[in-house]
């Protein structure tokens, strides 16, 4: 036992749903108090990783260690004792809040489930404090979720997630369902809370731009596997994997002058199925740089100074391919 265990360690996490290989060998470490963004497109398995961490799914194989404790082998009863170590905020606040419960009951529920004895008065005080922390007035406790706006509801979800003082917060697309102006305030709130309280966070998103200020590290997922990992700065400025490069190039910049000068990277849009992923490198069917070896040999996870990338064209000295060098006509033909 080390005195300062990592907030989260995933070792070769595998989650298969029948024949669907949703997560296929993901290893990831989040140190105490750090924020890692798990980025991927729909079907990449990123949400399943989050659901395995909070044990909404029991992983097929692999280890999930939260604050040093392997939670994959715990029984329901043992699990309950560790529930307060990790919380989750979902994408859709309307669907994840019980419409028949008052906001106060919703926020207090983790306290009730923890089994710790607490007086009603203390509980109400804790709820009021938590609502205040997420920028809501204490009166909101006596309202129902449908009386609140989307942004307010997501604040309620965050209050519920943080009331048990978790060491790790899983935020699964927490701002994707919100309007731009509301999104900004929820992202700012999460950043402020993280800085003040210091919980570690796995921020799951499809939107790289949303994590630029929030994340310390970035992990990129494609068809159930990690293709790249590294500190935020490096991933944004020097993405190594062709998929990460394509992802960054495809996200349009809200500046017409800059946007129209950028060289587009067009990938074919027939995404392979997780039922029958391509042989070798899973990205090869859409990769503009794919060559023979990519179909026959699974690329190793190449470690270099700025992180990891799983691509035959990445070298341990940090040499990386450039997806823009490929002729886009070859990709789409």
């Amino acid at each position: 036992m080390t005195p300062q265990p990592n907030a989260l360690e995933l070792e070769d996490l595998v989650m298969h749903f029948g024949p669907v290989r949703a997560v296929d060998g993901v290893s990831l470490t989040i140190p105490k108090g750090r924020v890692t963004a798990l980025v991927g497109e729909s079907g990449s398995g990123k949400s399943t990783v989050g659901r395995c961490v909070v044990r909404l799914e029991k992983p097929t194989a692999g280890v999930v260690r939260i604050a040093g404790i392997d939670v994959t082998q715990l029984t329901r009863r043992q699990l309950r004792r560790h529930r307060s170590d990790v919380s989750i905020v979902f994408q859709d606040p309307a669907g994840s809040l019980d419409p028949r419960m008052l906001v106060g009951e919703i926020v207090a529920e983790p306290l009730r489930l923890s089994g710790k004895r607490i007086t009603r008065r203390d509980r109400e005080a804790r709820v009021a404090e938590e609502l205040g922390r997420v920028g809501l007035r204490a009166e909101v406790a006596r309202r129902y979720p449908h009386e609140l706006s989307g942004g307010q509801r997501q604040r309620v979800s965050i209050a519920r997630a943080l009331i048990s003082e978790p060491k790790l917060l899983i935020a699964d697309e927490p701002t994707s369902a919100l309007d731009v102006s509301v999104q900004a305030s929820v992202l700012n709130l999460l950043a402020d809370l993280q800085r003040d309280i210091g919980f570690a966070c796995l921020f799951i998103t499809h939107d790289l731009s949303a994590v630029e200020y929030l994340a310390d590290d970035i992990a990129v997922m494609y068809l159930g596997q990690l293709v790249e990992k590294g500190p935020r700065e490096r991933v944004f400025t020097r993405p190594a994997h062709p998929y990460t490069q394509a992802l960054l190039a495809a996200a349009p910049v809200a500046d017409p002058v800059r946007q129209r000068q950028r060289q587009p990277v067009l990938l074919g849009d027939d995404l392979p199925s997780a039922l029958d992923p391509p042989s070798g490198c899973r990205f090869r069917t859409r990769c503009p740089l794919a060559f023979d070896r990519c179909a026959t040999e699974v690329p190793a996870q190449v470690e270099f100074a700025g992180g990891m990338a799983a691509c035959h064209l990445v070298q341990p000295d940090g040499t990386r391919p450039d997806v823009r060098a490929a002729d886009p006509s070859e990709v789409l033909s």
Binding site: D179, A184, A191, E212, A251, D270
Partner: protein
């Protein structure tokens, strides 16, 4: 699909207005009373132009789009004018509208799966449009369907034409929707959040298809989105909506270089963009909530969230007009509905080609 050169801010093909919307208002009668969704919206689409309409949920952008070809339910009360090459569409007979829909004005929506019939092959669905509107034979319609599928960048279209929707990826389905929409060579294509349900790597391809349609066929496009990145990528001109009204209208480079309306400025500052906020810790927020409007007040609807609001803003609604700040010469075609437009350019005005 090899076109990679990007269109400039204004296409050479831009010409006379194809579609003119003037003082369009839409309200709905619900159990809770009347809701005003769109209030005196005016805009025009020039031939071969891509106009982007941007706003947050509930701002009335989809209702505006649907009212153009009379797609709203009977509970909607529509007033004002929508003219397609001079023909009035508001209050037009159903027979007129039916001819216009699909043939002159076509739509694509956000969710391709729910808009496609799951039990018919894509070839049959595209063919049906051609058989009805163009009176083509079944055989000719199928051949044309294959052509259309390759036009929108679907590889091996000859095989894909026999696929059912569930056999296609989300991006492919949206391409099928576009193929169906442009089957009769419509003058105007209304694309309502066409890429919102798609991944960014797929979105880039769909936007490229829309650009190609304009460049190759001269299709006029109204694209509706909440995503300023999409607007920056594809639009020639932009219409910004807030709470049922147009608050700003401008050529795309002018709008981003110098938003006049405080709401536009706030929206631009709030949207996360890689690189833009590097070094800053926070995104800018717009305080408050979008109002839910039963009646449109004679006031600026953004006033209670606006840093520059004063009594004038609460007393009367500002009209959409050319903006003059100080001695600056107004930019052609840059209109804003604001009593106190943002004073100095956030950045030096870009040289505009529009």
């Amino acid at each position: 699909m090899t076109t990679v050169e990007r269109a400039g801010t204004a296409s050479a093909a831009v010409g006379t207005p194809v579609l003119e919307v003037h003082d369009l208002s839409v309200s709905f009668t619900t159990e809770g009373g009347t809701v005003s969704a769109v209030d005196r919206v005016s805009l025009d689409l020039a031939s071969g132009e891509i106009v982007g309409m941007v706003g947050e949920s509930g701002c009335g952008k989809s209702v505006t789009a649907m009212s153009i070809a009379g797609l709203l339910p009977d509970s909607a009360r529509v007033s004002g004018s929508v003219r397609l090459e001079g023909t009035e569409l508001v209050g037009a007979r159903e027979s007129v509208l039916r001819r216009v829909r699909g043939k002159e004005i076509a739509y694509i929506f956000q969710e391709p799966m729910t808009s496609l019939n799951p039990v018919l092959t894509v070839g049959r669905q595209i063919g049906e449009v051609l058989q009805v509107h163009e009176r083509m034979s079944k055989r000719a319609a199928r051949a044309r369907a294959v052509e259309l599928l390759s036009l929108v960048g679907i590889p091996s279209a000859g095989k894909r034409v026999d696929n059912y929707p569930h056999q296609l990826s989300g991006g492919m389905r949206q391409r099928v929707m576009i193929a169906m929409a442009v089957a009769c060579g419509p003058k105007v294509l209304v694309a309502d959040e066409p890429t919102t349900a798609l991944d960014v790597t797929v979105q880039a391809g769909i936007l490229q298809v829309l650009r190609d349609l304009r460049d190759r066929l001269g299709t006029t496009i109204l694209i509706i989105t909440h995503d300023l990145g999409v607007i920056a990528d594809i639009a020639d001109r932009v219409v910004v909506m807030y709470a049922g009204r147009v608050v700003e209208r401008a050529p795309v480079t002018d709008l981003f270089a110098h938003p006049y309306h405080r709401y536009t400025a706030g929206l631009l500052a709030a949207s996360p963009t890689p690189g833009k906020h590097a070094g800053t810790e926070r995104l800018q927020e717009i305080p408050g909530l979008v109002p839910v409007l039963s009646t449109q007040p004679d006031a600026c609807t953004f006033a209670d969230r606006c840093p520059a609001a004063d009594e004038q803003c609460l007393d009367s609604a500002p009209a959409l007009q050319l903006v003059r700040t100080g001695s600056a010469v107004p930019v052609t075609g840059h209109l804003a509905a604001c009593w106190h437009p943002c004073p100095s350019p956030r950045t030096q005005p870009q040289e505009t080609t529009a």
